[in-house]
Amino acid sequence: SAKQMSSQGGAKDLARVGETIFKSVDRFNYELFIMTYGAMVAQLLRDHEDVQEVNTRLEKMGHNIGLRLIEEFLARSNLNRCQEFKDTAEVIAKVGFKMFLGVAAGVTNWDQKKEEYSLILDENPLNDFVELPEGCQHLWFSNILCGVIRGCLEMLQWRVECKFVKDVLKGDETSEIRVKLIEIIPEEIPVGED
């Protein structure tokens, strides 16, 4: 079972876990989901002139989702808790992305200290049908994903900075999210204990 596999299990094992959960979950029409997301981004762009503001709002929304989604993820995946930050990479890429977006991501570009990595999205269903309009070169269309990752990791006591550095919608070959560990969030000591 997934629990018997340590969460430090190789990418292949994790990919299998992601695949299994993905197949077992009830599906609903994915076109409706991606069109809902697209409609939301388009509406945000109409509401806010500043594209950076839209990026920020998408990230904030994602953060709110991530704080909650982590419970769902942990319940379904039944994986052991990641002991070290570096273990989160493949879990997010192979299990998280597969479960929720239907497509696993790749992990590359580690820094020396193993505190920073890139998630490579060869496919991003949110991008289906989308073409960025003029004047939106600075929009990170799927920025909600960065917020989701940040929110999830925050609930596991890791404060990260998460941002897109490449996006196929901008003409790049792949989409790439950079995840950087800022600090380990100390557990709150309950009042009354020292």
Partner: protein
């Protein structure tokens, strides 16, 4: 042989507003095709007013002109797809298949959250995809210049 030659494709909105026109014959003035398409829209109106229910999306040959045959297709949302063909011997099932692909590509373009329906389609991706299916169905249409070059090099 016998591949048909598509010389022009168009998307027309709910009224008679052209949303997209692309011509594939550089030797003909594009305006000529615009005129042909506009004329064919009258025929579309006649045909689609006549039948009440159970209408096929594929409308068939709209109007033969001197040099061309114009085929039409209207979606249930009243968007119209027009294809102008330069060929004496056109196989109907090939036109129908073309319209199916054309309809799919059109529907994908409409799903772009940044596109407003019934407005002009400015998507490069749409233009390229349309050009690709035209090339697929009528390789001759794109070989004008190439044929000329290879003849001269022989």
């Amino acid at each position: 042989f016998g591949a048909m030659r598509i010389v022009c494709v168009a998307v027309v909105g709910k009224g008679k507003n052209p949303l997209f026109i692309k011509t594939f014959d550089s030797q003909v003035e594009p305006l000529k095709f615009h005129y042909i398409i506009h004329t064919s829209l009258d025929v579309v109106e006649e045909r689609t007013n006549a039948t009440a229910s159970g209408r096929n999306l594929y409308l068939g040959l709209l109007c033969p002109t001197e040099d061309y045959k114009v085929y039409g297709y209207m979606t249930n949302s009243k968007s119209k797809l027009i294809v102008v063909v330069d060929d004496l011997d056109v196989k109907e099932h090939e036109i129908k298949n073309f319209f199916k692909s054309f309809h799919t590509i059109f529907s994908d373009a409409v799903c772009n959250p940044f596109y407003t329906p019934d407005e002009k389609i400015s998507s490069k991706k749409f233009e390229n995809e349309v050009a690709a299916i035209v090339k697929q169905k009528s390789p001759e249409a794109h070989n004008d210049n190439l044929a000329y070059l290879s003849e001269n090099s022989n």
